[in-house]
């Protein structure tokens, strides 16, 4: 194997290895942590179960708060402040009624945002696999060239250089992308703990 085709094979292996280690059931999942498609409210919340369905949407003040604190760009501290401000004026009965609904709302909305993030990561993984395969094919074509095909060799070498570079750039992006669902999960946990803390103790 030439150094070039060895590198290409390594790229493909690196991709396949990472993916195989973590995917569990989903062949497109590239991150180290196993894919958990949906964050269940029960995995984060010990409080009273909210009613089934999306009753939180029917209370305009709840729907507005959920819409304010669950977009991807909202910082955890800002979200926690908004939850505290919402809960502060409520009496015990209102807290018992509204806070479980708020919990259901932030969980549902965060899952929607997170679902989009997961889809983008999977698309990135598919793209990365194609890049590795293309680099591999170019390397094989280079190996198969007759010694006198200098022009063709120069062209393929350049192509191989760019394919390899694109793969490596994409791998860096992937490492960063895999952090995004973790940040959303952490923020949802912090929100739910704060909501649970605000429930009347009895």
């Amino acid at each position: 194997m030439t150094p070039r085709s060895a590198l290409a094979a390594l790229l493909l292996l690196a991709w396949a290895g990472d993916a195989a280690a973590a995917r569990g059931d989903d062949p497109d999942w590239p991150c180290v942590q196993r894919l958990v498609p949906e964050l269940a409210l029960s995995s984060l919340w010990n409080g009273p179960a909210p009613p089934e369905g999306a009753a939180w949407r029917e209370a305009p003040e709840l729907a507005a708060l959920v819409a304010r604190i669950t977009p991807r760009a909202v910082g955890e501290e800002d979200g926690l402040r908004a939850i505290a401000e919402f809960a502060a004026p409520l009496d015990a009965a209102a807290r018992r009624r509204l806070l479980p609904l708020l919990a259901a709302g932030v969980a549902e909305a965060t899952n929607a945002v997170r679902g989009g993030v997961l889809d983008r990561i999977k698309a990135l993984a598919r793209r990365q696999r194609h890049l590795a395969e293309a680099a591999n094919r170019t390397a094989a074509a280079l190996d198969a060239l007759p010694p006198d095909a200098a022009d063709r060799r120069a062209e393929l070498e350049q192509r191989h250089f760019f394919e390899t570079k694109a793969f490596q750039d994409s791998e860096r992006t992937m490492r960063y992308a895999c952090e995004a669902p973790v940040r959303l999960e952490a923020r949802l946990g912090a929100y739910l703990r704060a909501i649970q803390e605000a429930l009347p103790k009895d």
Partner: protein, 320 residues
């Protein structure tokens, strides 16, 4: 003069608190060790160490902490009096988990990248041998008598039983998918292996090295793929075990002889590893996503407190 000495002695006597334990947590993403006072549950200091610290273990005299610094390809030795890294030990590449032999000298280190277990002499700071094992070795469980080491390999889905004297693999036991941690019962009769993707704990008979039972975990309302067993710790009397269930954010309390799940306790997010307090009354958990340590009251079967630590807390040990 005598009066002065007496006064000083009295002062010292009064000032000496009841001997409290210290909790040490490795923070994978902060490259640090968080030090927590067990009596007050306050963080007393944070110590910078090598890159990507994960597995940690106490020296036999409890004065030093061995730290796998994975991205620095070495084991660091942290002095617990001066809080300085005083030595580096060779470890092979990317050390993740380690186990100290009861002889206090031989440290067994899992090298995830090289499919090896490296044996290090901690006194001489030298590699004694390398033992080939399965693909992506991970969990390291030393039997209470030090005769056997159980190493799990993530990709091969096996527990490899290594005779620590001959350094030969004497048995390969199939376990659930992506095995993580291997822990022996205090009586040495069985060892338990957690499987992160399989979602189970396989219990292995240590006489025949055959699976003797499987523990499954079903947390109401939590999807199966979120149940990812990792850390295991036994209560001091061996009657109960605690199993960390990763992103299910639960610790399962298991009746050890019956292999029956008693209950699930909600802890911080992505609960990874566990340690028992010196008096056996508390279990400490590292929570990798919520960046905290949960404190479980064993008797009351409930979570007492959350202590914020560094980013991606991973390993935890208690210094009595």
């Amino acid at each position: 003069m005598r009066a002065l000495i007496a006064a000083l002695a009295l002062l010292l006597f009064c000032a000496a608190p009841t001997r409290a334990e210290t909790i040490l947590v490795s923070n994978e993403r902060d490259n640090s060790i968080t030090v927590i006072d067990g009596a007050t549950l306050q963080v007393t200091r944070t110590v910078r160490v090598g890159r990507r610290p994960r597995g940690i273990a106490l020296s036999q005299d409890r004065r030093q902490l061995y730290i796998c610094a994975g991205d620095d390809d070495r084991v660091e030795v942290l002095d617990l009096a001066t809080w300085r890294v005083v030595r580096h030990l060779p470890s092979g590449s990317d050390p993740e988990l380690l186990a100290l032999h009861p002889d206090g000298r031989r440290l067994f280190v899992a090298n995830e990248d090289d499919n090896l277990v490296t044996v290090v002499d901690v006194q001489r700071g030298a590699v004694l041998s390398e033992i080939p094992v399965g693909v992506e070795p991970e969990g390291m469980g030393m039997s209470p008598d030090g005769r056997f080491l159980v190493n799990t390999s993530e990709t091969t889905n096996m527990a490899h039983v290594i005779d620590t004297t001959t350094q030969q693999v004497v048995a390969n036991v199939p376990v659930g998918a992506r095995p993580r941690v291997a822990v022996w019962q205090p009586d040495g009769a069985r060892f338990w292996v957690s499987s992160e993707i399989g979602g189970v704990v396989t219990v292995v008979d240590a006489q025949r090295f055959q699976p003797a039972g499987t523990i499954e975990f079903r947390v109401p309302g939590v999807p199966r793929e979120a149940v990812q067993p990792v850390g295991i710790v036994f209560a001091a009397d061996g009657a109960r075990a605690f199993v960390a269930l990763g992103p299910a954010n639960r610790v399962a309390v298991v009746e050890a002889p019956a292999l029956r799940v008693e209950r699930y306790l909600l802890v911080g997010q992505r609960v990874w590893n566990l340690a028992l307090s010196g008096d056996g009354r508390r279990v400490y958990t590292t929570n990798g996503v919520s960046n905290d340590l949960s404190v479980i009251d064993v008797e009351a079967n409930r979570v007492l407190r959350s202590v914020p630590v560094g980013r991606s807390p991973w390993g935890v040990v208690v210094v009595p």
